[in-house]
Amino acid sequence: MSVLKNKRKEAKSQYVESFEQLYDYMSTTLISIPKRKHEFLAVPIMNKLNAIYEKIHSLNNDYFQFGIKIKDVPDRAKEVMKDIWSIEGDLLRLWNIEYKKYTTDKMTHCVTLFNDMLHKMINYGNLNI
């Protein structure tokens, strides 16, 4: 029983940790955006990330503390993934406006973090995507 619990903890930490890495990275890079542009460029992304943060933690808590039904996991994981995908347009806008600041390396790193998160979410929810 304890071994199973540990395995579950690992599975949990993978996607939550992956998201937390992404969250930390995004919040630190978005701080450097000039104040006037902040409201248009940074706020929408941070709002979406905050909403995802809550969903992910509630999914995690429900699974480990209250034992949500396994059949509910894919739906909720899919919902989180949809929210993550919806940031794509906001990122494109940010990169185009702050064209000089965002080098291809920086953008690639950001996309890697996003893809890593999506990949772990697919694994966690056993999604066939």
Partner: protein, 133 residues
């Protein structure tokens, strides 16, 4: 997810023009008064964001099947639709906000050029990918 393709901005004219139009609109609207920025201005920026996204999606991959060609045509139609809607909001921007003539001319030039380029692309796509199965 994909990164902003800086080569495409330099080399593909319709993406480069859209990118310039998007940046220029942000530059201008951010400096307009809050009453405009939070109403019509915000709406115009939203349209510009959507247009940029659709234009990018149009060029995301070169179609090899009919399904891919249809998808490209869908994105192209969506971007043209949004750009046409932007014309209405631009008129209101020019009328309400205090923008100098040079900027107005440049914005109009970019928008008209982008619409023309996309029209041309639509025609050439029909020729190039019309026979795909």
């Amino acid at each position: 997810m994909f990164v902003l393709d800086k080569n495409a901005i330099k080399n593909v004219e319709f993406i480069g023009t859209m990118s310039k139009l998007h940046r220029e609109l942000y530059r201008i609207i951010i400096s307009t008064p809050a009453y405009f920025r939070e109403t019509r201005g915000g709406l115009l920026l939203k349209l510009a964001d959507e247009a940029l996204y659709e234009v990018y999606m149009t060029n995301r991959r070169i179609p090899k099947t009919k399904k891919q060609a249809d998808k490209r045509a869908e994105h192209l139609a969506a971007s043209m639709d949004i750009l046409n809607k932007m014309q209405v909001s631009m008129i209101s921007l020019f009328n309400i906000a205090n923008i100098d003539d040079k900027c107005k001319k440049y914005l109009s030039y970019l928008l008209t050029k982008e619409i023309k380029l996309l029209n041309g692309l639509k025609k050439s796509d029909e020729k190039l990918y019309g026979d795909l199965t």
